[in-house]
Amino acid sequence: MTAIGTRPAFLMAPALAWLVGLMVVPCALVLALAFFQRGVYGGVDYTFTLENFGRVFDPLYAGIFLRSARIAGTATVIAVVLGYAAAYAIASCRRSLQPVLLFFAVLPFWSNYLIRTYAWIVLLNREGLITQLLRWFGYEGEPPSMLYTEGAVIAGLVYNYLPFVILACYAPLSRMNPELAEASRDLGGSAFTTFRRIILPLTLPGIAAGAVFVFVLSIGNFVTPALLGGGRFQMIGNLVYDQFLTANDWPFGAALSMALIGIMMLLLLVQAYASDRASTRTAPVREDA
């Protein structure tokens, strides 16, 4: 073997060992767990069964999956619309200003996820800042109940994952050759037509990447529904958490996790396929624009 031939393997070894040891093996263990039975007192009874996967499709649990998908989907749509608009605005600014604006967009990531979520509790609770502000403006009646609602959960998810969408959409928007839009205008396309037929298709991979990020992170989230939903909204992440940490039904929790991972993998595949297709039809980009 030549020195050149061995080097890549040598360089890859730590990352590979990390991935296999801390990703592949644990996931395989969880998968294996899903085929066994729950012991009477928690723990695992090592008797083979497919029952856990059957239970995933039980209307109760399938319903929780669907509901999680709906909440995550709503959060995704809102985050994509807001994030795309923000990314578009940033990309339209002076080049020198853009890094500063991006910096502010990702600034919330510098504080802890839990703290950011608690901040929403401070804002939304019945005696919270929003209510106080309303009172200051002379509002007298019963304060609106905003916390512990589905809306609060969605707001928390959108807020926390918005920067992902901004970053994902900013990349293709900032790289886009402005001459393409100019050409469209010159050929008589209205601003809306230009956006719909030129800009949007070219930036679709960014939107897809941002959307998948938000959806995948939202559907498995359990912190936000627990804190902002007040435990009244069971999402799939909470269900998995409960199986492992309160019901002590590890095999069923494992089966649920596998179903969740399956959904996520499917979405990532679709996204990879979409961005692959988009990149083959994208016009060459100019980096120096």
């Binding site: 009477v40 928690g42 929780i64 609770n125 005696e127 007040g230 435990g231 009244r232 069971q234 940490l245």
Partner: protein
């Protein structure tokens, strides 16, 4: 240079050897216990005092919930822990799994400090595998200044009057969430009959519609802020609310309460059983056990410790003065075995209900 380095290294090795020999020598006479407990559930300096009293050292690891420590104990067969603090149904499970050691009463003379009733608890009569550390009730904690009528029944929480709709919380942990419905419907807190549990489930799904949140940890703060006006609460936690607002009151509904007991168990896999018994004996010491009552604001089953408490304590927190005979008439939560799976499912259904 090389020589000096070698010499220095050899010197360091010799010192290390000396230190480890000394450590070995000290473990031969004194044990190092591993104790798992909830955060803040014993005096911060308890282990120093334990060392001063017995010569044994101990390391306290913390668990956030019963389920968390149960997961670890079941997975490891109890290895790695000497004394564990768990609630009574979980102590019962550990016993059924054969993971607990029999308590040798002769090595725990302070058991004599306990009320006689503390040795007659249904899950472990005679304290054969567990020693009660704290006990209490689960009832209604409310803002007496803001509710129109003072609650007397579980139904005041489950079917609330208009003025408190959307301003109530219930506990999120399976057994206590279910207990509210079981008691309201007139059943045992250990009821497992499917038809009766179906009724309990419907009661609780109906109650969910008027609920602000399920909350195990911040419900008393919600009362203090006025976000909630009535909550299902463990008596000791209601006391934390009373500390901040004297208008907060605690009542046991007329249908009753469960009697919850947090216990200490010694693991069968422990290699330091004598020291583990010494530790339990140390915790049952009047002064140490009174610390728990005064600081956690939970009742303790220690007669001598309860009698040593200052009178102001029960004046401020009336439930601290509840007579033992009244407390122990309530039913303790038992392990329900296979039915736990059904309990989990019912709770999932309640939480998923729209």
């Amino acid at each position: 240079m090389k020589i000096t380095n070698d010499r220095r290294a050899r010197g360091a090795r010799a010192i290390l050897l000396g230190v480890s020999l000394a450590a070995l020598a000290s473990t031969a006479s004194a044990a190092n216990l591993v104790i798992s407990n909830w955060d803040g559930y014993m005096a911060p300096d308890a282990m120093d005092a334990f060392k001063a009293a017995t010569g044994n050292t101990g390391e306290v690891v913390k668990h956030a919930t019963n389920e968390e420590i149960m997961g670890k104990l079941v997975a490891s067969g109890g290895k790695g822990y000497d004394v564990v603090f768990v609630s009574s149904p979980f102590a019962e499970v550990l016993h059924n799994l054969g993971l607990t050691e029999t308590i040798e009463a002769s090595k725990v003379p302070n058991l004599a400090n306990l009320y006689p009733e503390a040795a007659g608890l249904a899950y472990d009569p005679g304290n054969s595998f567990s020693v009660p550390y704290t006990w209490g009730t689960t009832g209604l904690c409310y803002r007496s200044d803001l509710v129109k009528t003072e609650p007397t029944s579980w139904n005041d929480l489950l079917k609330p009057a208009d003025d408190i709709k959307g301003k109530t919380t219930m506990l999120a942990t399976d057994r206590w969430l279910l207990a509210a419905g079981q008691l309201a419907d007139g059943f045992s807190v250990n009821e497992i009959d499917p038809a009766k549990m179906e009724q309990v489930k419907n009661t609780l799904i109906e109650a969910k519609k008027t609920l602000l949140a399920y909350d195990d940890t911040t419900f008393y703060a919600k009362l203090v802020s006025g976000e909630a006006l009535m909550v299902q609460a463990w008596d000791g936690w209601c006391n934390y609310g009373i500390t901040d607002n004297k208008d907060i009151k605690y009542v046991i509904p007329k249908e009753g309460s469960d009697l919850w007991v947090d216990t200490m168990v010694v693991m069968k896999a422990s290699e330091n059983k004598d020291a583990a018994f010494q530790f339990i004996n140390f915790m049952l010491d009047v002064k140490n056990h009174a610390w728990a009552a005064e600081n956690i604001l939970y009742k303790v089953p220690n007669k001598a410790a309860m009698e040593s408490l200052p009178a102001e304590l029960s004046a401020t927190y009336p439930n601290m003065a509840m007579p033992v005979a009244e407390l122990t008439k309530y039913e303790v939560l038992r392990d329900v075995g296979e039915a736990q799976k059904e309990y989990s499912r019912i709770v999932s259904e309640i939480k998923a209900a729209q």
